[in-house]
Each structure stands twice: as C-alpha cells, then as structure tokens.
C-alpha cells in the first residue's frame, strides 16, 4: 500500500502564492500525471511531495502518515529528474547504488543489487561506465535505475523525457508504461506534454496557475473537459473554439447560433445559459468534417499539413477565426480551396460565459472512461 494524500496544500514564495490549495488523493499503484502549461506549479507540487520544497501550509500524507516535516530520503520516495542528475564522477553501478552506500551496505552487496536492477533496465554491459560515456536514453535509464534500487513506495518523475529526441521519447514512454505494469508501484509524473499524459496516466491532474482545473482518467478529460482551459489543453491538435449565442432550449439540447447565422444543436442541458446569452462552442479538429451536404460553415484553406494518416487543414472562416480540421490523409485539398465544414453537435462542447463546460445530457458513444477504470481494477 502506498497512497499519497494532499490536503489544501499551499506554497508561497515571499509574497507570491504559486500553489493555491491543492486537494488530491493518489491511490495505491496509480499512475498519476500532473500536466499543465509551464509555470502552472506542477513541478513545484511534485518537489513538495518529494520534500525538496517546503510546504507553506496544508498537509501531505503518505500512507496516512503526515510527511510535511519528514526529510526527503525518509519519505520512501524516489525521484527521476529532468536532467537525469547523475553523479558524473561515479560509474553507472555506483550511481545506482549510491543510496545503499549511504546506508552503509557493503560494496559487494551494493554491486549485486545494481546488477540486478541493471538487468531489468538492460544496462548490464554499461555498469562500469561513467555517465559521460552514455547516450541520453541510457542516462535516463540509469536515473530510473537509481530510483528502482531503493524500492520506493512512490516514484516521482519530473519531466523525465523532455531532454530526449522524439523517437527515443516514444520508446521510453513505452518502457515507463511497462515498468509501471511490472512494478505495480504508485507513480507521480510531471509533464507539459499532453500526449505523455494521455498515454501514461491512469489519472491526469490538469493544473493552471497553482490550482487543479480537473482530475480524471485520460478519456474522461478528453470527452468531458470541465472548462475551456482543459478542453483546449488536452487533445492534439487543439480544440477549436467559436463564439456563439444561445438561440433556444429544446429537449434534444441547446441550440446555438454561430456568427454566420447557422445553428448547431448541442445535446446539453442549458445550465446557467439563457436564450440570448453569449457562449463558446468547442469542437475537436478530428470531429469537424468537410461535408458539402450539411455545411455549417464555409472557409478558405490557409495551410495543409500532411501527416500521412491524417491531414490537418487550417481554415479561415468569415469573421477571421481559424479552424483546424482533421481529415483523412489522402484528402484531395489544396491551399486557397473553399471548403464546406460541418459541425456535429453531438461531438461538440459548450462553454458558458465563464468558460465552464455545460454538462452533457448523455454520455457520447466514444466514451472510454469506463474501460479505463476497469483496466485499473483488473490489474
């Protein structure tokens, strides 16, 4: 068992509050990802859990034990740093077994343990090398190995993949995922990359300006973002937002009118929205379609980005807004083409004047929240 509980955690530097009251429950064996734009406080929060930053107020519990004043090494945690932070003057084996050396474990036993962990991470032949002679990916593995050696209750990762090139990042993501599978340890992972968050997490915590915007499983955040910020942050390419006014409220949902006069029915209860109110409609690029039969909008193609499996179109519509439309890879389309765009209200999101999502009347069919939860439980 290793749970982490944050109760109204706050952090203040001189007179700026950077963490503004975080409440969070991290369950045993959960892979939790803190994600948010730079400066949102995600790294600070992780470092507070690690014990590298003081907690100004609030309570941090690990396995139910208060940890606020416990030194970092006594918290039962291990951390992997963005810059790896390997000891350059020690060999790979010495790096990994340094914590054991500090505990006074005899040399032979330390080396044995380093070898054991090295085998798991395929570092076997590199044990006697210095970090300077390793590639980025290998260094990252040593950093993970150093954390593994301590058999921690909770692993902390501070943007561990951001110094790697794209291909290696993908590989390491897979390795981390399978590592979590095999270790069955609680992991807390900080990243600004929402793809890493989506692919690795059991639970994503979206942070902005020191507060939690939303907590949920990846597909839950994708399908049911609670506000415009989360909607825009999760998903790539970014969700499109268009200003609308509430036209009418019907059983089927709320009818909104776009700037060009066309209407879309979004299957949501109107909530605080009244007829005539300004609101924002959000549609993901993959949910917009080029459809001459049911065009909601017309626009001119500015840029065509061919990704192979898909094509991203940047389309300028009347009023000056640019929409990103994702279509299939072989779509015949060229710059300056006029394209009809169709918005499917069932896949759209509606945000009220305060940018809060208006709740849906039913779960969309693509929801995977359930399956993800089941996956966690079956483990």
């Amino acid at each position: 068992m290793s749970t982490v509980t944050l109760k109204n955690i706050r952090k203040t530097y001189t007179d700026t509050e950077v963490i503004k009251g975080i409440d969070l429950e991290i369950h045993d064996r959960e892979f939790v990802v803190f994600v948010g734009p730079s400066g949102c406080g995600k790294s600070t929060l992780l470092r507070m859990i690690a014990g590298l930053e003081d907690i100004t107020s609030g309570e941090l519990l690990i396995d139910g034990q208060p940890m606020n004043n416990v030194p970092p090494d006594k918290r039962g945690l291990a951390m992997v740093f963005q810059t790896y932070a390997l000891y350059p003057h020690m060999t790979v084996a010495e790096n990994m077994a340094f914590s054991l050396r500090l505990e006074g474990v005899p040399k032979a036993k330390r080396y044995e343990r380093a070898k054991e962990v090295g085998r798991v991470l395929q570092l076997g032949p590199l044990l006697d090398r210095k970090p300077g002679a390793l590639s980025g990916g290998q260094r990252q593995r040593v950093a993970i190995g150093r954390a593994l050696v301590r058999s921690p209750k909770v692993f902390l990762f501070d943007e561990p993949l951001s110094n790697l090139d794209a291909a290696l990042r993908g590989d390491m993501r897979l390795e981390l995922s399978s590592l979590h599978d095999s270790l069955q340890t609680t992991m807390i992972y900080v990243t600004h990359d929402q793809i890493e968050a989506m692919t690795l997490a059991d639970k994503i915590v979206v942070l902005q300006n020191g507060v939690i915007e939303q907590v949920g499983a990846p597909m839950e955040l994708y399908n049911h973002p609670c506000n415009k910020f989360v909607a825009g942050f999760m998903g790539s390419p970014k969700m499109n937002f268009l200003p609308v006014t509430t036209a009418s409220v019907q059983d089927a949902g709320t009818v909104v009118k776009l700037a060009n006069g066309s209407t879309v029915t979004v299957p949501v209860r109107p909530g605080n929205l009244k007829v005539g109110d300004r609101a924002t409609i959000g549609v993901r690029p993959e949910h917009l379609r080029i459809d001459a039969n049911h065009p909601t909008l017309m626009g001119e193609v500015l840029v065509v980005e061919r990704l192979g499996d898909a094509t991203s179109l940047y389309v300028k519509i009347a009023g000056g807004d640019t929409l990103i439309v994702q279509t299939d890879g072989n779509k015949q389309v060229a710059v300056r083409d006029q394209v009809p765009i169709s918005i499917d209200g069932n896949l759209a999101h509606l945000f009220d004047t305060d940018d809060i999502a208006v709740s849906k009347t039913h779960q969309p069919s693509i929801g995977m929240t359930q399956t993800h939860e089941q996956q966690i439980q079956s483990v």
């Binding site: 590298l52 970092p72 090494d73 006594k74 740093f81 932070a85 350059p88 340094f98």
Partner: protein, 274 residues
C-alpha cells in the same frame, strides 16, 4: 577563407609567443645573471655569453641559511592555504547553495577588502602582532595570509560550486545523503579540479607575498621573500648574488607551478568552455 583562418591562427600564435617571451624574459635574465660574476652582471652592454660560475650560489649559501627560509615559506604558504580552504569551502558552500538576500553584498564586500592598500593597515596590524606576541612567528604570517587569500578562495570555490547542477545535490538528498556525505561524496569530487587550482593559486600568492613578510618577520619566521631582500641592502647591491638568491627562492614554486599548470589552467577556465 581557409587560408585567412590559418594565417590568423599563425598570427595569434606569434603574438602568444611574443607575450610569453616578454613575461619570461626577466626570469631568464635573472637566471643567467645568477651564473655571472658580479663584474659581468653589471657590465654594459650586458653580456649574453660568459663563463658560468657557481660562486654566487656558494656565497649565498654561506651568508644565509637558505633552507631555514625555504622551510618557513613552505610551512606558511601551505598552512595559510589549508586554513583558507577549511574556512573558505564551508563559506562558499553556504553562499552557493543557501544564498540569502545579503549573499551578493557579502561576496562583494569580501572582494572589496582586496582593494585596500595593505600599508594602510600596517601600523594597527603591527601593533596587534606585537601585543599578541605573533610578530616574527609562522602562525602570525599564516593568519595574515589566510585573511589576504580568503576572499579569492571563497570567490573561486563559490563559482566552482555554482557550476554544480542543483539537481545533482537534490538527487543525493533524495538518496539520503547528510550534509557531510553530500559534501564529501558528491560536491568535493565534482569541484576537485576547482579546489585544486584554488589551493595552487593560494600557495603561489602566499609564497610570493613580500609586504607583510618583510614587515612582520626578522629571522625566525622569515620566508624566502625576506631571504631575497636581505641581499639588497647593507653593502650595496650585489646583482649576481641577488639573482642567485631569487632563483633559489622562486625555483620551488616555479617547478610546482610548471608541473601543475594543466590542473591550474583547467581550474581557471572551468565552466568557460563547457
């Protein structure tokens, strides 16, 4: 382009050699003068070719106990360096890793003490030395040299410590290192080239220091600088003997510097080319 670059390098090489020769010339001249007779030493035009003689070295040996002075120099410069490091390393550690609002100004203040003309505090220091019985003692000079070199030692080690990535220290704290273990196992090994060159510089500066050693010592604690000076007075200047004495005085530190120059250069340019 390529030839431009090549001729540029050639020019820079030539310039470097020229500067090196200018800097080295006095030492070279002193060295050859020490093997001349007194008459040859002062002859005009200066003689470049002459029959070398060791008479100056013999004379110098007879007149003064070279090894007494040399031993004092070693004890004082090494002693002052060790004390300066023992005080300077923890100070630099605190300032580099736990800076406060006043750290910057403390560092600047330390440096500003180097701008004070030493002669300005000669009388008070002399009186303090006399009252405490530290005049003409090695301990007295070690204290003075430690204080003279401390600002440089702290500054240098501070900048070497600053080069150590913060995450490495956080990593060792996560690994469970105490402050002592952190310094002993992680920080000092990483900053060793820097500390070595700091020590070297401190030894050289202490070895060459003349103002305080001449004013605060007579014989018991007198280092080699006093030994050289003793050849310049009563019966007039004896250039050849003075040169022989100087050569003997700087030989140890010159050899020391020669063998450790690689370390010294690495330390002084640490971080500059990373």
């Amino acid at each position: 382009m390529a030839t431009d670059k090549k001729s540029n390098q050639w020019l820079i090489g030539l310039l470097a050699w020229a500067v090196a020769c200018i800097l080295f010339f006095p030492i070279f001249w002193m060295f050859i003068t020490s093997f001349k007779t007194e008459v040859a030493a002062v002859s005009t035009p200066p003689q470049l070719f002459f029959t070398p003689t060791l008479e100056n070295y013999v004379a110098v040996q007879e007149r003064a106990a070279y090894f007494n002075y040399a031993w004092n120099s070693i004890i004082i410069s090494v002693g002052a360096t060790v004390v300066a490091l023992v005080l300077g390393v923890p100070a630099a550690y605190a300032m580099a890793f736990f800076p406060t609002k006043r750290t910057k100004s403390t560092l600047l203040w330390m440096l500003s003490t180097k701008m004070l003309p030493p002669v300005g505090v000669l009388v008070p220091i002399y009186i303090l030395g006399r009252e405490s019985g530290l005049l003409d003692t090695r301990v007295g000079l070690i204290i003075i040299y430690t204080l003279i070199n401390l600002p440089i030692v702290v500054w240098m080690i501070y900048s070497f410590f600053k080069e150590v990535p913060k995450e490495i220290l956080e990593a060792d704290r996560m690994d469970g290192a105490t402050t002592y273990q952190e310094v002993a196992y992680v920080l000092l090994p990483l900053a060793l080239p820097g500390i070595a060159s700091t020590a070297l510089l401190s030894v050289i500066l202490s070895w060459n220091e003349a103002f305080w050693s001449l004013n605060l010592t007579t014989f018991d604690a007198a280092p080699l600088t006093a030994f050289i000076a003793s050849f310049s007075s009563p019966q007039g200047l004896f250039w050849a003997k003075l040169s022989a004495a100087s050569t003997m005085a700087i030989a140890p530190i010159l050899l020391f510097g020669w063998f450790s120059q690689k370390q010294l250069v690495r330390g002084l340019t640490f971080g500059a080319v990373k």
